[in-house]
Symmetry: C2
Subunit: 401 residues, 2 copies
Amino acid sequence: MNNQRHITLPEGFRAAGVACGIKTGGKRDLAIITADTDTATAIVTTRNQIVGAPITWCRRILPRGYGKTRGIVINAGVSNVCTGERGLKDARTMAAETARHIGTGPENILVASTGVIGQPLPMGKIKRGIASAARALGRRCDSHVAEAIMTTDTRRKSAVVTSRIGARKITLAGIAKGSGMIAPSMATMISVITTDAAISPPALKKALTAAVATSFNAVTVDSDTSTSDIVAVLASGRAENARITTASKQYARFASNLKEVCAELARAIAADGEGATRLIRVTVLGARSDRHAEVAAKSVANSPLFKCAVHGCDPNWGRIAMALGKSAATVVAEKLTIRIGPTLVFKRGVPTKFNARRVSQHLASDEVEIVCNLGIGKGGFTALTCDLSKDYITINADYHT
Amino acid sequence: MNNQRHITLPEGFRAAGVACGIKTGGKRDLAIITADTDTATAIVTTRNQIVGAPITWCRRILPRGYGKTRGIVINAGVSNVCTGERGLKDARTMAAETARHIGTGPENILVASTGVIGQPLPMGKIKRGIASAARALGRRCDSHVAEAIMTTDTRRKSAVVTSRIGARKITLAGIAKGSGMIAPSMATMISVITTDAAISPPALKKALTAAVATSFNAVTVDSDTSTSDIVAVLASGRAENARITTASKQYARFASNLKEVCAELARAIAADGEGATRLIRVTVLGARSDRHAEVAAKSVANSPLFKCAVHGCDPNWGRIAMALGKSAATVVAEKLTIRIGPTLVFKRGVPTKFNARRVSQHLASDEVEIVCNLGIGKGGFTALTCDLSKDYITINADYHT
């Protein structure tokens, strides 16, 4: 597992993850992923109105959300959010230090920070960490990188997809972190995806925005949207396929591959939500529109009462009906049908006679499936979440201090 | 405490609370509150699109939300929601049985049920309970009534306000229940308010709607909106004041008294939220509008991360900034100021140097005050909530079974 490669599998990238001393116990907390040359890059960032200095920095160097960069530097433990002018200066310094070591300008380096809000970065440690990561850059320590970006995550998260564009094999690989404060709104947590595909920056941005909508943006752990969310994708072009543009025949294939990587990472984030013991997929069908389906599915996925019921393996489908009904989506009890796993529990306004033990057994499984058919239109959406356990409280009642 | 009067303090009302066998252990679970004669009544009901049969019944007998009734019958333990045609028949039977005992028609009796969704009411028990409550109707068992409507509440909730309308003393008294699935949307949980004031039904409705907006509707325990929310106010007129209409000079006084009762009950609900160990008041000032302030305050009050931090006495103000920023209200970090209790922790985009121990001490107190000034406009709102503890999970992971 420690030698598993992912983020540097696509040609053209090197990476390293080190411990610079922000996290206690010598845990890794600083990562650099670099591209060998100027590389097509697209980012999607949080919609929270309060954003960290690293987000401001990334938006400044990629004002349209795409362009060319040489890589990204990431630290965990302190998020550099709500830190005023000093925070912005520190983010720039992180970019400049990284840039200096790989021989480029600061404007070519993305920055991401995750962790506690409102504390200044310990810049001495960060600078030493950047120097040591820069020395370690290579293609053998991908798992160190995935580990260095973790906060309350219990598992490293990575995904790899290979495909063909014309005669060329292309590879896409991603890592992600995210465990709490997860209800991305057009972006999410931190994720970096690399690919060797040749693709124009605007096409890369378009594909990323589409992929995020049904993957990261479908996840909610606790309805709280982070101030540091960023997904970055870097495409080196080393696969030497004919360069993809939004007009290319091959664009759809690439977009679908990217969606696959994002979906796998999103699934891993939901399954590793703070305190989570299982993954829950809430699918809403038959909604007036896809947007209605999304609103309804997220209302269920965000309901603490529903999430507690799943945690207790309690076949309390009434809370699903409640959460659908409170949403802004059109819901009519008499048209509504609810399934928990394979069991129909509510059919057009009336509860069915179901085997409660069988439903409890499904709720105890690693992946819980809820399917609600609103019986109104053709809209559909699947939201991903996890159960709500006492460990969520333990983790979050004392995270800061 | 057991003999404390409230709901029958205003002249013209009798009440009783009995155990009919829905709750285990002989706990009280059925209450009747009756008016001696046809009495001005106003109701506000849930905005959840899935509503219980009792809500449907109340809307049917008071299609404009006001009129005259002779009282209300309430049971706890089973909410009669998502029960189809049978549920509606059962709600009507509850009204009819109560009406028969007091000598009126079913269309004069409001019905409210609270408890598990999707189960049929045990009508044998209910009918026997109604008979026994009708026999016990009087002015000496108000605390039995407040107790009989409780579900996971740990305390009975009541409030009394006396005032003068012209030369006449008037009394308003209310009871409420509500502990989980509390995020009222133009209504809330179950609350019944009695008064001896003489007031026209439309004026009563107008005053109730206004009172609810800043009291019950300011409460959120868990962001989940019940399918059974109802507030009913009954005005007997026995104070013999000149009858209040919306045009009366005295209307404002009455509306303010009603607001006071609702605010006290709302406060009691928030303080007794499921698993709560303390009450939290989140005030947002300086918002673009009152509506912006409400959205921002509720975003903080609903944030599980914020509520866990308060539970852990953790001065993690970054989560307040995060929750404000993710809301639909306009928020600009550089204009934002945050206070926790008496301590300024964030001032126009920059953290202050504050005494973390002093902030933790405030967070450990019974009533936590958060004041956020957005520095943009003149809108304000105070939301009420409670901390999020492991007991919330214990209560809700196994409530149904």
